[in-house]
């Protein structure tokens, strides 16, 4: 038992730690040992903080010994996507331009989790600046899918998904701008939520697209998801866009009760673009919920076809400004041997950014340029409003919307790198959620014939994460299977 603490859920760990059945240090050591054993295969971690993690665990143990409350996540190992600022180690967004950059502050989520007793074993791999759907755009390494090492873990939070699915840490933090939590969660067979925009402070999240970015957890099950949400949700005076809306105890929403709940199935999502095998998995999941008394309603999201174009205009426009600050003046990479400041900007950025980041900066600069602004950026903002309205209209007829997370399971490494548009299609079912600002969760709904996880996506009204969790929890309880240890990591 004591050798396999890494396999436990966050709830199991914190209960055992609080009950003094195990020390936080033992859990941390188990997790660090697991990373040592399997990360050579997965390449999920880019930096392991063994010493710091042990110190954090010892502090939790000391609190318990002193009779103080160690917090609701006492001793839970939480991996951190490299897009979040941490005083420990470096914060690089897996980009050469921030190589060696040390943040002078912790992100608000890190502060809150530390306060709750969490332990941080290290930083996780991602697509450079969270731009990508396979984690192949990392300047550091290519993370593998724990279910098939030849496959990508999804992205951009691929390191976070692989680490949780591979049982390297009970929980990992990711960020989701267009599906960067939900799509890798689906690819790796874990639970991942993109909260309502404004639920989680973005302070300390290196911005990709500010109006779309949200931080969220990857967990092994829905209960852990609720547990982490309890800690990281809530207004932060450092983030003006964080919502001043009370945070309920989400674990109270975890009741297997969907009787009378209306599940909306948007007809625009169930088309031929969705593979037959994926469709079967989703339909089986819906059947489970239906058998428990949920009502199935067909809904329409008529502007779905415009979502990808809208998304890539808005996110690249914001990114072109957000990434402008990486210029070699104050920190990060600076190209050597330059004659003047303009050359310094040009060479620094050309040498340090990867292809996808450069492509998006140029696209974003273009759509904001005078003469093009109205045709692209302004129009995209209008379409974004229409997409949001589609969802609000649909939610008049249903309580949650149920869709696949991704049109296909995880694909092979290198399969889509040559074709960015093909890669962008990985997110067709997830990006509308970000454009609408609503919450979306992905959870496993079985394995395909080739042994790769399929993901079920559940969306809810803004700030109604409770209903979302209730549906997810009910399905998880009644689906009739366990994900178990991923194939590529079995004994």
């Amino acid at each position: 038992m004591s050798n396999s603490w890494y396999e436990k859920t966050a709830l199991e760990i914190r209960d055992a730690v609080r009950a003094k059945k195990v020390s936080a240090l033992e859990v941390t050591d188990s997790c660090l040992k697991r990373i040592e054993e399997v990360d050579g295969k997965l390449l999920a971690f880019i930096d392991v903080w063994a010493d710091a993690a042990r110190k954090q665990a010892q502090a939790v143990d000391a609190k318990i010994a002193a009779g103080k409350d160690p917090g609701p996540l006492a001793g839970v190992p939480i991996g951190v996507k490299d897009v979040l600022c941490t005083k420990e180690g470096t914060t690089t967004c897996c980009s050469k331009i921030l190589k060696g950059y040390r943040s002078p502050f912790d992100a608000t989520v890190i502060e809150r989790l530390a306060e709750a007793g969490a332990v941080f074993p290290g930083k996780l791999n991602m697509d450079e600046f969270a731009m990508g759907s396979s984690t192949e755009n990392s300047s550091i390494q290519r993370t593998r899918n724990p279910w098939n090492l030849d496959c990508v873990p999804g992205g951009s939070s691929g390191g976070s998904a692989a680490a949780v699915a591979g049982h390297e840490c009970a929980v990992a933090l990711g960020s989701d701008t267009g599906g960067s939590i939900r799509q890798p969660a689906a690819c790796c067979g874990c639970v991942g939520i993109k909260p309502t925009y404004g639920r989680v402070s973005r302070y300390g999240l290196v911005a990709f697209a500010s109006s779309l970015d949200q931080i969220g957890p990857f967990t092994k099950d829905v209960t852990d998801c609720a547990l982490v949400m309890n800690t990281i949700f809530g207004r932060d005076p450092k983030d003006s866009t964080s919502a001043d809306i009370p945070v309920p105890d989400f674990t109270k929403a975890l009741t297997p009760a969907v009787k009378g709940l209306r599940l909306g199935l948007p007809k625009e999502y169930y088309t031929d673009a969705l593979g037959a095998e994926m469709r079967d998995k989703i339909q089986a999941a819906i059947k489970v919920l239906e058998s428990l008394g949920a009502e199935i309603v067909e809904v329409s999201l008529p502007h779905t076809d415009y979502a990808i174009a809208t998304y890539y205009i808005i996110c690249t426009a914001e990114a072109s400004a957000n990434l402008a600050r990486f210029d070699g003046v104050r920190y990060g990479y600076r190209a050597p041997g330059v004659a003047n400041v303009d050359e310094m900007y040009r060479k620094t950025k050309s040498e340090a950014y990867g292809h996808e980041v450069r492509r998006r900066i140029m696209l974003g600069t273009y759509v904001l340029s005078s003469g093009y602004y109205d045709a692209y950026y302004l129009k995209a903002q209008k379409v974004r409003s229409l997409i949001r309205r589609d969802f609000m209209d649909a939610f008049k007829q249903c309580d949650v919307i149920v869709t696949p997370t991704s049109p296909t399971p995880a694909f092979k490494i290198g399969e889509k790198t040559a074709d960015p548009l093909e890669m962008y299609l990985s997110d067709i079912y997830t990006i509308s959620v970000n454009l609408a600002g609503i919450p979306g969760l992905s959870m496993p709904c079985g394995l395909t014939a080739s042994g790769l996880p399929a993901g079920l996506q559940i969306m809810a009204k803004p700030f109604d994460e409770e209903t979302l969790l209730r549906v997810a929890y009910t399905y998880e309880q009644k689906r009739g299977f366990e994900m178990g240890m991923p194939a590529a990591l079995r004994g």
């Binding site: 943040s103 992100a107 302070y203 290196v206 990486f326 003046v329």
Partner: protein, 478 residues
Amino acid sequence: MKYEAVIGMEVHVELNTQSKVFCGCSTKFDAPANTNVCPICLGMPGVLPVINKRAVELSVAVGIALNCTISRWSKMDRKNYFYPDLAKNYQISQYDLPLCANGCLEIQVNGSTKRIGITRAHLEEDTARNTHTIGGGDSGVDFNRCGVPLLEIVTEPDIRSAEEAYAYLTSLKQILRYLDVSDCNMEEGSLRAEANISIRPVGSKEFGSKTEVKNVASFSGVQKAIDFEIARQQQVIEGGGQVVQETRGWDADKGITFSQRAKESAHDYRYFPEPDLVPLVVDEAWEAQIAATLPELPRARKARFVSQYQLSEYDSGVLTAERPMADYYETTVQCGVPAKPAANWIMGDLQALLTEHKLEIGACKVTPENLASMIALIEDGTISGKIAKDLLPELFATGKSAKALVEEKGLVQISDTSELEAVAREIIASNPGPVADFRGGKEKALGFLVGQMMKATKGKANPQMANDIIRKELAKTE
């Protein structure tokens, strides 16, 4: 052909909030380089701006004072350009929805009033200060100024002469100082003025191509630069040429403008709404609350001084030029002394002392109460005006109360009849010549004798009484 100038002004004022507009750093001016900085104003990865409520209130106060419409709903935008004085390589500013719009400011030129339209006033963050070593080498950036709240006030092209531009700037500065929203110190850069200048044939409705004159260090410099530009543009046009639309600098030593940057290379700023901030909502209640804190503005106060205190236009103008001076005057008068002498003392002897010691009225050791008590001592005959003139510099230097100093130095005016009669008799006895002259009909000799009396009493004799008594004594001894 006769030409007329068409001028619009853009003024940037740093608002004197305690902290910067999007972070908690101090706005203090002369701190050592890069000490008033934090991750937010340095544009470190992962930071977010939070708007300073006070900066919004000060901006709205200016908007109200300039008769603007205050936007119920406005927003911040990103203005994108690459330059090392911007930490983020974009400046958070306001583009299409400024906080204040459609106002006006009335100015007075040559005794007549003219209304200058205010297009807009919007809030933004100031940039850092770049320093370069002379002759090349290293460049430095001081981020202390980066993020200081800045209000940009833009006029309509309503100004027609350098003189009007000067009057506009003076009037605007006076209002800003009255509102106490900015130090308006051009040398420290807390007020910066730019003029957009073009000329056109009188009667023409179209605008000529304009030049923008920047980096002028004083209002009089702006006035001279505009005069120069008008003449230069006229020369260009009359010589058959065309005015190039460009930015021009001002060389104060040579008294000329010079080309800095042609407009062709102007930036495309790619403005878009700042997604890290929520819309700026100023509801009626908040606007009313800010309006209620506004002081009486200079023009209204001047008019009231004329009617309430029966002062001349000129005196009222001088006394209301700066709010602390006007406050000083009113506090003095409220102590119960007559308005006119109070005005004379403040504008005369006290102002002279302030000028001599290069002090602002706020730093003056003579409190209005103390000045009032000195004036009261003159009014009730305790001291003479002459004594008061000698007394004021001491009050000014020491801050002592007038009453105490008068008693301490025994400066109380001699109003005792028998004492003055004795002095008068002495003077008559020792000045037979002038006495004979007076008795011989030379009225002038009386002045001399009174002067002798003042001298003998070290100025303490009540002058009116001295005059009366010596006359009586001269009559007696005849």
